[in-house]
Symmetry: C2
């Protein structure tokens, strides 16, 4: 049937609004998975940098003890690296929460809706195949009969399967949209507040952000 | 000669103060190379994070265009990531300057002094070997003669080689100390100011720091 459709030899049942929403969902999923890939990489890179800063803090503190001639200079560098390491841990807790929520949204919630959509699309193809067959039977044989009645009954049954899956898809898309906006609204605010606070050295705001958003694992 | 010394069968000429300075230099070089290894790793990690933030900024900006329902949230995240990327480049210029100066200090200046010190140490071993030989000749044969005079002349020549290299080492150690304190004083201040300014979101201070320390490649 898909082949016939591509060759233009068979017509295709189209629900324009629903298909636009499906196309949009697939694009959104792709884009969110790209953000997830980048934010996961960022968390890993900042975590590595934070570990290096911890080691640098220790190296500077050790050199401060052993170098009276540069003690002050080594000491303030040791202090800076240590305080950045502490804030880095709070930031990473926030990033991990963002990544985990985005992972659930893109790989669980969206996938669940896309599973129903794939069933809907398969049912649509099957329905259109029966429909083409019924039309060919109607045109070719002309009259009706036992065979004709069988085709019509199968067509009717498939139309109802198709209709049910179309309604399921529409409902799931609506619920997914609401869920997505709610989750992303919260997570994008957390991401922004945590990153801004960290990179402005505002550890009070950083800790307030992870508390406000109930980030798991944060102090 | 080194083996005889270890077995306690031969005495060793010792310049306590110089040897303490040499031991200190070797320890300082080890510690500075460790800091260089860590600060090079930090620059690479922050550079990777900065590239990820650039890509994240673009992904957020793209999503802001395509998602009217979350436009504001995506937009402020795009702005934050972009401004962090810009500041990241300035910070990296400062870190590269720090790393390059520390590399020159630990791998060039300190190595040059250590080369003279290794020559001095070899001359010391050779001098002590002649000295043991001369002592053995003096005790065994008792008197003097052509052979005895040859040993004494060689010993005298080697004592002067040893003395010259000892003086060279002492001078180089003194110059290296002055150079090291000057370089590290500047670089530790730059490192601290650049890192503090970057991680407190103070791009004015960050740019002032790289200008003040004439960081190459910075805007």
């Amino acid at each position: 049937q898909l082949l016939y459709e591509k060759l233009g030899k068979s017509s295709r049942t189209v629900d324009t609004e629903l298909e636009a929403q499906i196309e949009m969902l697939r694009e959104t999923q792709r884009k969110y998975l790209n953000v997830l890939r980048l934010s996961t990489a960022l968390a890993a890179q900042l975590s590595a940098a934070s570990n290096t800063q911890r080691a640098l803090g220790e190296a500077f503190a050790d050199l401060a003890q052993k170098s009276p001639e540069l003690q002050t200079q080594f000491l303030y560098n040791a202090d800076t690296q240590r305080s950045l390491t502490r804030n880095g841990e709070t930031l990473l807790a926030a990033l991990h929460f963002f990544n985990s929520s985005l992972h659930t949204l893109a790989n669980k919630s969206m996938e669940d809706t896309l599973l129903t959509i794939r069933q809907y699309e398969a049912a649509r193809v099957e329905y259109d195949a029966y429909r083409s067959e019924a039309e060919a039977a109607g045109t070719g044989v002309g009259g009706s009969g036992a065979g004709g009645e069988g085709v019509a009954a199968r067509l009717e049954r498939q139309r109802s399967v198709y209709g049910r899956l179309r309604d399921d898809s529409a409902v799931k898309l609506k619920l997914l949209h609401e869920n997505r906006v709610k989750v992303m609204n919260k997570q994008l605010l957390l991401f922004h507040n945590a990153i801004s606070a960290y990179f402005s050295g505002n550890n009070v705001a950083l800790e307030a952000a992870v508390r406000h958003f109930s980030v798991p694992g944060a102090l």
